[in-house]
């Protein structure tokens, strides 16, 4: 056997071994992710019978057509607006914090980053109930504003409460990618910008922001996507007054028993998220 052949054979063996090691995760992902997704897709083309069950025959696009109806469109638009607001607030709040973190001594920054992740140690549902108490009439926030003299506030079951809850829930997803991209910037580039007659804000706009764009986009997607489909927070803090996409899908499955519509909406939501993720990687690829 020639040397080249031996090399080739070893390469092949190595590839086989890699595949073997990755097999469990492959199987898991196919079984619990890809397959259910296919089922959702299949159901979105099915028909709802008058009794509320789903007939797996008679394939059609009715469920997708329903997405064009004004009620559904309103739900979608409302969800997008809310997700955009949430993302924007997260971005504005997270950027300075991430910047601050990246410019601390290593032990301080680690402490800060751990602090960012502390909320994850408590159950998401519990945290939402905590916000209910905080925001309720006669709750801590309300008594605080009353004492200051602004008067009683009643934020619970408002859009504001939902935004507060979503920002709170997803802020870490904005902070971490921003921190990573800010941390990567060579400080000398900022100095060079200042040296070349850039003011602080010009240097930020022309150098820092473009270089941290991958972090901005990654963070925005990570906040926007779950905000779009959020269910628990709008239910608990918004009181379900205004239907958002997440609640709407749940309603379709559990209450209206219209599985095809629920499935089609889930699928469209996923497609939107997939497309935005692809856009992110394209944009990131150009910059890195």
């Amino acid at each position: 056997m020639s040397v080249g052949e031996a090399e080739l054979q070893r390469d092949r063996a190595e590839r086989r071994r890699g595949l073997f090691l990755a097999l469990p995760s492959f199987v898991y992902m196919i079984l619990f992710f890809a397959l259910p997704l296919v089922i959702v897709l299949v159901y979105s083309f099915a028909t709802r019978t008058s009794s509320g069950s789903t007939s797996l025959s008679n394939w059609n696009l009715d469920a997708y057509r329903k997405l064009g109806e004004p009620i559904v469109r309103n739900v979608v638009v409302r969800s997008i607006v809310l997700a955009v607001i949430t993302t924007a607030i997260c971005l504005v709040v997270a950027y300075p914090f991430a910047w601050f973190c990246a410019h601390q001594r290593p032990n301080v920054r680690n402490l800060l980053l751990v602090a960012v992740m502390i909320p994850f140690w408590t159950n998401f549902l519990v945290r939402n109930y905590a916000w209910r108490i905080l925001l309720s009439t006669g709750g801590p926030l309300s008594s605080l504003t009353e004492r200051i003299g602004i008067g009683e506030t009643n934020l619970l079951f408002t859009k504001t409460a939902v935004v507060i809850g979503l920002v709170y829930a997803f802020l870490p997803f904005m902070i971490l990618p921003l921190y990573a991209s800010i941390d990567r910037i060579d400080g000398r580039l900022i100095e060079a910008g200042r040296d070349l007659y850039g003011s602080g804000s010009q240097t930020f706009r022309r150098i820092v922001l473009p270089l941290t764009m991958p972090g901005v986009i990654a963070g925005s997607i990570l906040v926007f996507v779950p905000s779009m489909g959020a269910y628990v927070t709008p239910e608990l803090l918004g009181g379900g007054k205004e239907t958002l996409l997440g609640s709407y899908i749940v309603t379709q499955f559990l209450t209206a028993r219209n599985w095809p519509v629920g499935a089609s909406m889930s699928f469209v939501l996923m497609a939107v998220m997939l497309v935005s993720t692809i856009i992110y990687f394209r944009a990131g690829g150009k910059n890195l």
């Binding site: 060579d186 000398r188 580039l189 100095e191 060079a192 910008g193 200042r194 040296d195 070349l196 007659y197 850039g198 003011s199 010009q202 022309r206 150098i207 473009p210 270089l211 910059n287």
Partner: protein, 367 residues
């Protein structure tokens, strides 16, 4: 501070530092530095890492604010001004080119920030790019350039702004040896062409000697000596300077009067006149004896009227164009470097020899 020579008295020095200090937390990075750099000069700040040279440069650039002292550029106090308000530009170590911009946009950056009109910007950018011979590369990103090309773009990006002073932080350190030598030559050429004052920081003594009109050697935050390359080599006033620029032997002794040193073995030798402002009579001093300025001969052949040292050859090292002897005296070892020529007798290990030198070949330095 002791500046031995070459401070221009001109009131419009390009850069003028008076009592400049920089203290970080509890570390004094730069300690009470006085320095004048003349207009059009190619000036090197030379020293080992951590000596304060880069901090000094950064203070001139405005990237650090001095803790104390006065810093003037062409007579204008700039101490507290931010970098964008100073008529200086910097070529950063590793160049700090903006990775998300083309060569052209990098070079145009400073002009755009200052809102120079478009036609003028385009013209000056093209001019700067051709000055550093980077024509045809305008659309490239920094990552697509070699080290030498990045260096040129960094130069163009700074020079396009026509700064009154160009600061260069270890401009050649990132290049490999051959390219470094090439760029040395180009840098010198470029400075002559544009006529701008260049201040550069380096830890490489050869680079400093080859490039600069004057050198300032720093150590431990202090500016030890300023002078032309020849002055720094021939007449160092500080042991650190003599040791950092070239190599030297150091004979311990005491300054008896301005032209005599009593060595620690009791010999008295004549030395070039010592400036009493720098070293006082009675001070402990060292005599710097460059290896290539020491002559080797047979014990009794030292020419009349010269100081001599008796010793025995301990090692002989052949280096091609020269031979290095370690000569063991009874109180120290002296390194001697002689030419390798057929007409010079080669000494062998254990030969008894005498060492001598011309009185003007040595320098008295602070220990």
């Amino acid at each position: 501070m002791t500046e031995r020579s070459g401070s221009p008295s001109n009131s419009h020095a390009a850069v003028s530092l008076r009592g400049i200090s920089k203290i970080f937390d509890d570390v004094t990075a730069v300690d009470n530095v006085d320095l004048d750099i003349a207009d059009g000069e190619f000036f090197a700040l030379l020293g080992p890492s951590g000596c304060g040279k880069t901090t000094t440069l950064r203070m001139i650039a405005g990237l650090e604010i001095p803790s104390a002292g006065s810093l003037q550029i062409f007579g204008e106090e700039v101490g507290p001004l931010p970098p964008n308000k100073r008529p200086v530009n910097t070529v950063f170590q590793n160049y700090a080119l903006f990775p998300h911009m083309s060569v052209e946009d990098n070079v145009a950056f400073g002009l755009r920030m200052r809102k120079v009109d478009k036609a003028e910007t385009a013209r000056r950018v093209a001019e700067a790019i051709s000055l550093v011979r980077m024509g045809g590369m305008e659309a490239r990103r920094p990552a697509q350039l070699s080290g030498g090309q990045q260096q040129r773009v960094a130069l163009a990006r700074a020079l396009v702004n026509r700064p009154k002073v160009l600061l260069l932080d270890e401009p050649l350190a990132a290049l490999d040896l051959k390219l470094r030598q090439e760029m040395q030559f180009e840098l010198k050429q470029l400075q002559r062409e544009v006529g701008i004052t260049f201040v550069f920081v380096t830890h490489d003594q050869e680079e400093a000697l080859a490039l600069s009109d004057r050198i300032g050697v720093m150590d431990g935050g202090r500016l030890l000596q300023v002078g032309t390359p020849e002055e720094m080599y021939d007449a160092p006033v500080d042991r650190f300077v003599a040791d950092f620029i070239g190599r030297s032997n150091f004979l311990h002794g005491t300054l008896e009067n301005s032209t005599t040193v009593c060595l620690s073995n009791g010999d008295r030798i004549n030395v070039p006149v010592v400036d009493s402002d720098v070293i006082a009579v009675g001070d402990a001093v060292q005599v710097s004896l460059r290896p290539e300025r020491v002559m080797v001969c047979d014990p009794h052949e030292v020419p009349e009227g010269h100081a001599r040292l008796q010793g025995r050859v301990a090692t002989v090292t052949f280096l091609g164009n020269s031979i290095v002897y370690h000569v063991q005296l009874d109180w120290m070892t002296v390194v001697v470097e002689t030419d390798h020529r057929p007409d010079l007798r080669r000494r062998a290990v254990d030969d008894d020899v005498a060492l001598w030198w011309r009185d003007d070949a040595i320098a008295v330095v602070r220990p």
